[in-house]
Structures are given as structure tokens and as C-alpha cells.
Point group: C2
Chain length 298, copies 2
């Protein structure tokens, strides 16, 4: 297996400015992303949304890459057209020109460096494990595919990661998080280059991942939010949430607690981008994925 | 002088959710804002922008309250109509039914609790000084009027403050900052009530304020931002910026330093709401305002 082409994508969500800024920087000063053993190409995924500083124009671009969405040419939204274009340039999905994608995002949650595995193959696991070794506080989120297909941009290629960095508000640039994103991509490209060269980077035999389980909605009444993330849970992404722990504090002063017995680990706590869907956080289970070479994907 | 009516306004900017949430909470549970010596009324200033989670629909509502703007009924923007409505309900400016306004905002800058004095009269200075005594890290920003008139909502009434609390991203609710905003308003109402009762709250003889001097623009090329706030300046609101201190780091790796000799104090550093105007920060001078009763406004 040899990696021949790598795509780096920024601006998939137009108000997450870090990726779009790095695409501009690397276009002007490409040294940071050049590796001798493969070609790297830059893409600004949603230029109109970036220009308007909005997550999307008509629909979330990062949900437009299911096979059946890509097969339909008459949906007519701006993002569906961008998805066809990107699939043509990077893909086509299933037989893509590019072997790997790094899709650069930001979050208002206290996610730090979060690598999102949408495909759980061994290369992806090792890639994430290697970056985690280089940037020790890095967390790995794994979202198992639903019915075998994924709607995400990264699903065009067999390999790659969604990079989520935060906390940062939408619509602004923080130089510290730009530096951190740059570093994640550098390590990712280093890993793939070493793999090509047959001198694979050392990774541990297994990694801890947060496996997505379910979303939790905000309490609402008359279509308005009537409870906020409890102050004791705010910014506590990846920490254990036990039965009885407070989740929300409500207008009337009451507290809504976590009711299930199973201990979970919330992520994307108070992500501004999910308010329109009423999503307050996602709950995960902690799992271990094997990363030793020679093993089959679990 | 007696305060008879006080207006509390949230949602002047539709994606600064704290004020709108508190207006909803206080409408349902008004005990927190009731004082025996005056009436308190709640206003959701820009409901359509709140609903759409945008700063404004057509133009910034908090720039629509100059006398000549209010005199013109044919500007036709949604915000100009809201301004006329609010001026009718709270004002009219110059002869207003309400004596004081608290206008509740948030900022993505590291502003903490910032009280913005748009009118520098003695009551406003004492009101800000009293709140600062109760919440010690509170900062006071003073923006001198331009040509004797102000475009801000608070200018409808003789007294009142703009309350800016941060850092918080646009489009989300943080319970800690909701609590802090609630506390600021509580102390403000307490101060006005005590004044009415003839047992004025003690305040120091003077307060330190940050007086607005000028805005600083982001470096741009081909209509795109080519430099971000320097990492050493990010989050350093209110701290001294000296000749030669770094302000921006650019795409090409160069640094833009502060060039003037006069020491200044930046505020609203990296405020997402000002990106569309290309404003990176505001520079202030440090001044002392007298607050002792019996003094004329300086």
C-alpha cells in the first residue's frame, strides 16, 4: 500500500476559520505540507459559506457525502453542488484519486485536539495514535458508520481524519489554535510519508478512544431553551458522567441529572454549531482499539 | 432626582444569547429584578435576530439610536423599525419614560465583566463604581460621545450601562456567565433603589476607566485577512501595550508591532462581531474619573 495523493481541506464549515486560513497560508507557503513521497493538494470546501461567515448556505456540507446523495444531481442546494465538485476533484468515493484526507474543523466545546475517526481501519487508527504520541493531550473520537455508509467529507477516501480543535468561538482566528492545527497536520503527513518509505513510525499497541453513543438534547418549552449546560459540566469534555451527575440547570432553578446507570463521557459539550439541532452534547463510551501492525481492524 | 422606571434589555444583538435568556428567566421569575421604589420592565430588543441567531438582520441595532436616525421613519430596515418601537416604548430619547437602561451583551474577547459608560454623568459613574466594588475584577470602558450624540440603545435614557460579559462564543449559553450577568444587574438595581431611598451606597472617590481612543484594523490583502492577533496579545485585554510590542502575526511569518510611543490598553481583542468591519481591537487610554457625590461631571 502506498499513499500517492493527500487532500487537506479547510472551510468545510464556513464559520470555522482556522482551516480556511491555513489553506490560504499553505497555498502561499507550501513547504510545511510538502512530503517527497506523495502529492498534497489543498481545498477550500465551502467558499460561499466562508465568505458569508456561516456554517453553511443551504445544508451542512459535511453531511452530503453518502453514496446516494452523491448519486443524485438534482438536489439543488449549494452544498450538494459543492459535494459533487469535491467528490469529482478528491474522489470519486470508492475509487478516489486521493488516498487520505485531513478535514480541518474547530469547535466551541473544550475539545482540545480531537481526532475524529469515521473509518476505523488500521491505518486510520495508527495515524491517530501517532499524532496522539506527538501531541499528548490529543483525544480520539470514533463514530461507527450507520448502515455501512458515512455522510462525511472524509469518507471520500479510505484514509484520513477530521481534526477538531477548540475551544474557539465561530467566526474568529486564534493564532495558538492555528499553530496547533498546523502541528496536527504536520505529524499526520510525517506518519504517511514514513509509511510510504517503509520505515513506519512507532505507535503503541492500543489507543483509548471515545466511541459515540448518543446525543443529548437541551430541555425546551414552547420552542425555547429552558435549561443550560450545568456549570459543573461546562468545559468537562471527556470526563466521566455518572448516574445522578447534574447535566442541565433550568430557568426555574431546577437541575436535570444524568439518569442512566452506565457511566458515559460527554464530548462536544455546548457546541454552538449544534444549537439549531437542539443538541447539547454527545455521550461516548470509552473503548480500546488495537493499533499494532498486522492486526485486522476490530 | 428619583428613578421611577428602569428598562432591562436583552437580545440587542441576536447571537449574544445571555441577555435574551435572562429576559426569559426574569419574565417567568421576576423576584430577582423587583425593587420597591421603581418599576422594572423587560425588553427583547431584536427578536428576529435572536430567532435567526444572527447579530442583526439588516444593520446593527445598537447603532440606530442617534436623534436624526430616530427622526427618520423611512429607512426601512428591520432594525430601524425596532429602534423606533423601542424608542417609543422606553423613550422617547430626550424625554424618556424610563430613567435607566441596562443593555445586556456578550463578547468573544477576554473582557470579563465590562461596564460601558456611553454617558459620563455622575450617576452612571457611581453606578459603575458601585458594581465594581461588588464584583472586584469589573472593568469600566468609557466611550466619549461623538458630536454630542450617541447611536446606542442606552442613549435613550439619561442613566444606564451597557454590560459586556465574556469571553463567550456567539450563539451559545454559558451558565457561569448568565449568573455573572444576573449579579451585575442585581447590584445595579440595588444601587438605584438605595439612591431612591436616600441611603446612597458608598463608592470610592474615583474610578479607573479605559477611555476609547481608536480602533485597529486587521492586516488585509486582496480582501482577505493575512495576519491574526499575535499569540502574546490574545486574551490580554486591559493590559498595557507599549511601543514595539507585537500585535499581529502574518501569513508570511512576519510580525506587526505597535508603532506609536504612547502606551495604550487594548480591549475587544479578537471580537468576532467586528470581523465584518475588519476591526481587530480597540485601543484605550487609562483615565481616572471622579465619583464623589457633589462633583460635576468632568
Amino acid at each position: 500500500m502506498k499513499i500517492l495523493n493527500v487532500a487537506i481541506v479547510g472551510g468545510t464549515h464556513g464559520n470555522e476559520l482556522t482551516g480556511a486560513y491555513l489553506v490560504r497560508r499553505w497555498s502561499a507557503y507550501p513547504d510545511a505540507i510538502i512530503r517527497p513521497s506523495f502529492k498534497t493538494k489543498l481545498f477550500l470546501a465551502n467558499p460561499k459559506a466562508v465568505e458569508q461567515n456561516r456554517r453553511f448556505i443551504d445544508e451542512d456540507l459535511n453531511r452530503c457525502f453518502r453514496m446516494n446523495s452523491l448519486a443524485s444531481t438534482d438536489r439543488g442546494t449549494y452544498e450538494s453542488l459543492r459535494a459533487l465538485y469535491l467528490n469529482q476533484m478528491i474522489g470519486p468515493k470508492g475509487a478516489s484519486k486521493h488516498d487520505a484526507i485531513f478535514d480541518l474543523h474547530t469547535s466551541t466545546s473544550n475539545c482540545g485536539v480531537m481526532l475524529v475517526l469515521k473509518d476505523n481501519n488500521l491505518i486510520n487508527r495508527q495515524l491517530a495514535a501517532y499524532i496522539q504520541c506527538q501531541i499528548p493531550d490529543t483525544k480520539i473520537l470514533y463514530t461507527p458508520p450507520i448502515q455501512g455508509d458515512q455522510p462525511y467529507l472524509t469518507s471520500i477516501c479510505p484514509y484520513g481524519l477530521i481534526v477538531e480543535i477548540g475551544p474557539v468561538p465561530q467566526g474568529l482566528l486564534r493564532s495558538d489554535l492555528i499553530t496547533l492545527t498546523d502541528e496536527v497536520v504536520k505529524h499526520g503527513l510525517d506518519y504517511l510519508h514514513a509509511l510510504n518509505e517503509g520505515r513506519q513510525k512507532a505507535v503503541p499497541d492500543s489507543v483509548e478512544v471515545f466511541e459515540f453513543k448518543e446525543e443529548v438534547m437541551f430541555p425546551k418549552a414552547d420552542d425555547a431553551i429552558v435549561g443550560t449546560i450545568h456549570h459543573s459540566l461546562q468545559d468537562r469534555d471527556y470526563e466521566a458522567l455518572h448516574h445522578g451527575d447534574p447535566m442541565f440547570e433550568c430557568l426555574d432553578g431546577s437541575v436535570i441529572a444524568y439518569e442512566k446507570q452506565e457511566t458515559v463521557y460527554p464530548v462536544f459539550i455546548n457546541e454552538a454549531a449544534y444549537y439549531y439541532k437542539n443538541v447539547a452534547m454527545s455521550l461516548c463510551l470509552k473503548k480500546t482499539l488495537l493499533t499494532a501492525t498486522g492486526l485486522e481492524p476490530t
